[in-house]
Subunit: 432 residues, 2 copies
């Protein structure tokens, strides 16, 4: 087994932890098309803050490259590239297709290609395999009867379960679903992952079942958050404190606690569209999943309206009003701002021609230097300057701010809107 040479293709929040863990037991090569990232990683710098300091330091010992030649000698390829959406909210498979091209060109007979990227059921075998075949001139062995072809390669699918920013659940302590193109290959892939994951594996009966299992995980979260968002809209109209209702309901054994909020990022807000895309293609337009997506996507409309309503109620002039938003990333305690819904909220609040400052201790100022809609500030100024304060992300730093400090950020007449239950309900003007 330890003769395996493993290429990790794509070194983001999924690829990096895999590289580190496989790197402890196997020959590994980390491959990414991003030159600057590779240079940083070689120096032990993980700008995404996903790895621990020790892990980042370990990177220096590993083979890292943006040159596809370096993965040619590998016999196992694990593809972990992102699967985002295009502007029409349809799957953008260009990255996984390109990765398949690169891998295809490196492929030798009996090699195994394992995909970890989130996809709709069928992508591995219907989209990626043909690209691998074309670029390798080899033949894919699938479970439906083995071809006599001598030059076979194999595939697997093992969905990533990395919860970005979550230190409690990691690659080692979360069970991993594995699947392969045949029983023999499934066993091999299973052994491979088991060797680095103490929590163990769950063997799915087919690649499609594993693909489907992954896509429904985040779909379920999205739909559930949408439901709670809807409840918070209803309860705010009824003057009922949503948090108190959720607390009471959560004392029932089968109630599942979800919180209202903005759903951005590259997982929960994206994955459902992959499934609905495939579903529509085969003639069924999903009702629940699309209703959830629509509701969550529209939450910034609801929140911005609420805030503007509160400003008017308190007779705060909208034009030129000064708004401070705490948090810009799509989730708490991460540096990632991809597809953050805070940006949507900013655009909506910008319409009243307000001046918006954003403070986020996790985001580098340089990154938003050319931003016209808001100013990313480095530190908070306690000068009673702002008309409106919005808690948009639940970063741990914000949970520690004390209330009198918060008050000294604001003018006497002010609006505090708390999307993340950071402050007690009694001292804010609005919350979800």
């Amino acid at each position: 087994m330890n003769k395996n040479k493993i290429a990790i293709v794509g070194l983001g929040y999924v690829g990096l932890p895999l590289l580190i863990e496989f790197g402890k037991k196997y020959n590994v090569v980390g491959y990414d098309i991003d030159k600057k990232k590779i240079e940083n990683l070689k120096r032990g710098i993980d700008e995404t803050l996903i790895l621990s300091d020790k892990e980042s330091n370990n990177l220096k010992k590993l083979k890292l490259s943006c040159n596809a030649k370096e993965i040619k000698q590998c016999n196992i390829y694990i593809v972990t590239v992102p699967t985002p959406l295009n502007k029409k909210n349809k799957p953008d498979l260009s990255l996984i297709k390109n990765a398949s091209k690169v891998v295809g060109r490196s492929l030798n007979r009996k090699d195994i290609v394992i995909y970890e990227s989130t996809v709709y059921p069928g992508v591995t075998e219907e989209v990626c395999v043909p690209i691998l075949e074309k670029n390798s001139k080899l033949k894919y062995e699938n479970s439906h009867g083995v071809t006599n072809h001598e030059n076979l390669f194999y595939c697997g699918y093992s969905p990533e379960r990395i919860n970005h920013g979550d230190k409690k659940h990691n690659i080692k302590n979360v069970k991993k679903v594995v699947s392969g193109s045949s029983k023999k290959i499934t066993n091999k892939i299973n052994k491979l992952y088991k060797s680095i994951i103490p929590a163990g594996t769950h063997v799915a009966s087919s690649i499609k079942v594993a693909e489907a299992a992954k896509i429904i995980e985040n779909t379920q979260r999205d739909v559930n958050i949408a439901l709670i968002n809807e409840l918070s809209i209803i309860f705010s109209k009824l003057n009922i404190n949503t948090e108190q209702v959720l607390e009471a309901a959560s004392t029932k054994w089968n109630f599942v606690r979800f919180n209202p909020g903005l759903v951005g990022g590259h997982c929960i807000g994206v994955d459902p569209y992959y499934l609905t895309y495939k579903s529509k293609k085969i003639g069924y337009t999903p009702k629940m999943i699309l209703a959830g997506r629509k509701l969550n996507d529209n939450m910034t409309v609801h929140v911005s309206k609420k805030i503007i309503h509160l400003m008017k109620k308190k007779r705060i002039k909208l034009y030129n009003s000064k708004i401070l938003i705490l948090g810009l990333t799509f989730k708490e305690n991460i540096t990632d701002t991809r597809n953050t819904k805070v940006m949507d909220l900013i655009l909506k609040l910008k319409k009243i021609r307000s001046k918006i400052d954003v403070y986020d201790p996790w985001v580098k100022k340089e990154k938003f230097a050319n931003e016209k809609n808001f100013k990313l500030i480095n530190k908070l100024e306690y000068k009673k300057k702002y008309d409106v304060l919005i808690f948009a992300v639940g970063h741990k730093q914000f949970n520690q701010i004390n209330i009198s400090r918060i008050k000294s950020l604001l003018k006497t007449r002010n609006v505090i809107y708390d999307l993340k239950y950071i402050l007690p309900a009694s001292i804010v003007d609005g919350r979800l």
Copy 2:
């Protein structure tokens, strides 16, 4: 405290266990408008099979009546009547209104009326309290400043959490939410319930919060089952085994296992409509909740189409075909057939002019003697008689039937459709 004399108004699956538990420590009177039920209960007969034999026997010692005079001396009234829907899927509050009338007429100053029925937020104080006031000529003391009125009465809301047919979760081991019209009364109600519930209580900050907490519990279940039903529709089109997908996804720490199925009965299929009714009234038409309701209500269309499709595929003549349905109740291991969706399925399958037998060991034949759409049979005939077999309810008895016995119910060419994953996927023709 033990001077309390408690009336339980409504002796169904909610009232009966309360009566038994309060009866162990307090003076109680069980009241119901159903004469026959009272007569039976007096003889220790619980036709709903909710109580244990010992508990049923204990009924003989308790005061039970359908005469409203008998509750006049009580000082605490607990209302547990059903809150069903009318034909337009709108709340039918007639029973809770009538109960409030009866209680109102019995009410003395300082008495407490506690509602356990599931309602939308506001029913207790906006619908029931005015009826209590009118019929008692007393005044309701609420939290918004006490009136100087001397003739006050008090209210509370403590939602029932009885899970019909579930022997694991009962009145004693499930935490109970309590609330009251003022702090003092909330404390009193809290102590009262704590005295009979070892699992303890959760004190909600207001009656409305407690009402809202209850209504969202089943709403969440309904929406989640609807999502899984939708997934099963998609996966059946993709030839993916839904159960295997759910098993794989369930190995993730935050995936919540729900199963596809028909949603009938008087809770999950009803409660969401209470919330959507109120929500629409205040100007918001729920998207998620109504999408869930619609999807679950339409599952019988999906299932009947599937079955008919399978029959055609196997060249089974539809006209005069013989169909056996196993299970009629709205849920496994209960006698309750109220709003069972199996009835809907029967009506849909009746359209092909098939002959339908239904076997349900939990349901008494007499109850459906005049039924025209199907015949409720007393025992199974293993005579290779049926073209189609449908597992509709997951009664424990069905889980024990062996496969060769099942085959001997059916003609050689047959369709087995399994809504409840009772048989292995490999030997059935269709499942959710």
